[in-house]
Amino acid sequence: MCWVCEAYGDPEIENGRWFLNPKNHSRQMYKIKKPGQKAAAFGSDPESQSGRNIQEILATRFTEQEEFQRLVKEANAMKGDGPFQIGQVIPLKEAHRVVELSYPVAGMSCICRILTRAAEERNEHEYTCTGLGVGMLKWERWPERYKGGVNFMTADEAKDWLTKWDTKGMVHSIMTFGGSYVGGICNCDYPDCIAIRNRIDYGIETNMLKSHYVAKTNYDLCNGCGVCVQRCQFGAIKFEVTTDKTNIDQMKCFGCGLCETGCPREAIELIDRESLPGLKEAW
C-alpha cells in the first residue's frame, strides 16, 4: 500500500485509496490553516510558506549540490509532513471517481503553465486544471495569478472534460493543498508541470507519486503503431525495433494510463502495482 493510503486512507472505503476517502475532501480539512499547522492552504494563497520552502530547497542546487541532495532526501523521508505538497498520478477512471465524490468541481487555469510557459487560459475551453472542494467558492478572493475565474461543472460535465484532456494526452494527478486535503485534479504534461518536473528532474518524490497501477503490453495484440510512445509523458515507453512492438519500462511507468486510453487495439492494460513484488514499494 502506498504511504499516503496508509496514513490517510480508510481500508473500508474504495480499497483504501486516500483520494477516494471522503475525509480528505471535507471542509474541516480546508479550514486548518493557522501558521505552523499542517495545512498551509497553498491553494488559497499561492505565496504561502509551502511554495517558498520548495523554492528555497531548489535554489540550493546552484550553490551546493550535496546540500541540495541532502535536503531532498530529508524532505522525501518526511513524506506528507515535509515541505512538499502531496501529489499522485491517477488514471482516468479514478479521476472520474474523484469528481463524483467531490463538490463543487470547477475548471480553472493551470498555475504551472502560467509560470513556466506564460500560457493564458481565459475561458472554460482553455482551462486545464480542475479545482475541487470549498476553496473553489472563494475564487474571487484569489490573487491575480489565477486568471479568468472558474467554470463550475456537474460531475458528468467534469468527466467529459477530463476525458477531453486525456484524449489530448494529459496526465491526471491529484494535488493536495495542505496535508491530505484533496484540492484538485491537474491535467499535466512535461515540462510545463512543476510537480512532474520536481519528481523526474530533481527526485522530489512526494510531489508526484506514482499511481496504483502500471501499464503492461499484450504482445499478441500490439502491432507496433507507436501511439503509446507519443503519449507517454514519463519517457517509459520505447518502440522496440527488434520485436516490432512497444516496450514499456515498468520501473519508469507512473501508471497514468495514457497509453491504455490511447491504444487503438486495446493492447495495453493497467495492472495493480501491488501485484508485482518488484514494484509494490515503488511509489
Partner: protein, 85 residues
Amino acid sequence: MTAPKYPTLEIDATKCTTPFDCKLCIQACPQAVFFTHAVKVERGRETDPKDPGAYILVPTYRDKCTGCMDCVEVCPVDALKITFP
C-alpha cells in the same frame, strides 16, 4: 566543495519589463528554463501583463540550459545574456 557549474542567465529587468505579455523566450525555450510571475500582487485583481515591471522573468531551471541561445535570438529588447563557466 562541489559547487556545480551551471550557466548564468542574466536578465536585464530594465529592458525586459513585460515578460508575461511578450512571452517569446518563455515559449521558445526547448528546455523550459524560465519562470514568469507577477511581483505586483493585489488580492482580487488581475495584474495587467502590459504594466511595465508588474511581471518578472526568472531563469528558475537554468541548470537545464544547454546554451542553444534561442531565447537570446528571439528577445526583442536584447535583455538576455547567457554565460557558461
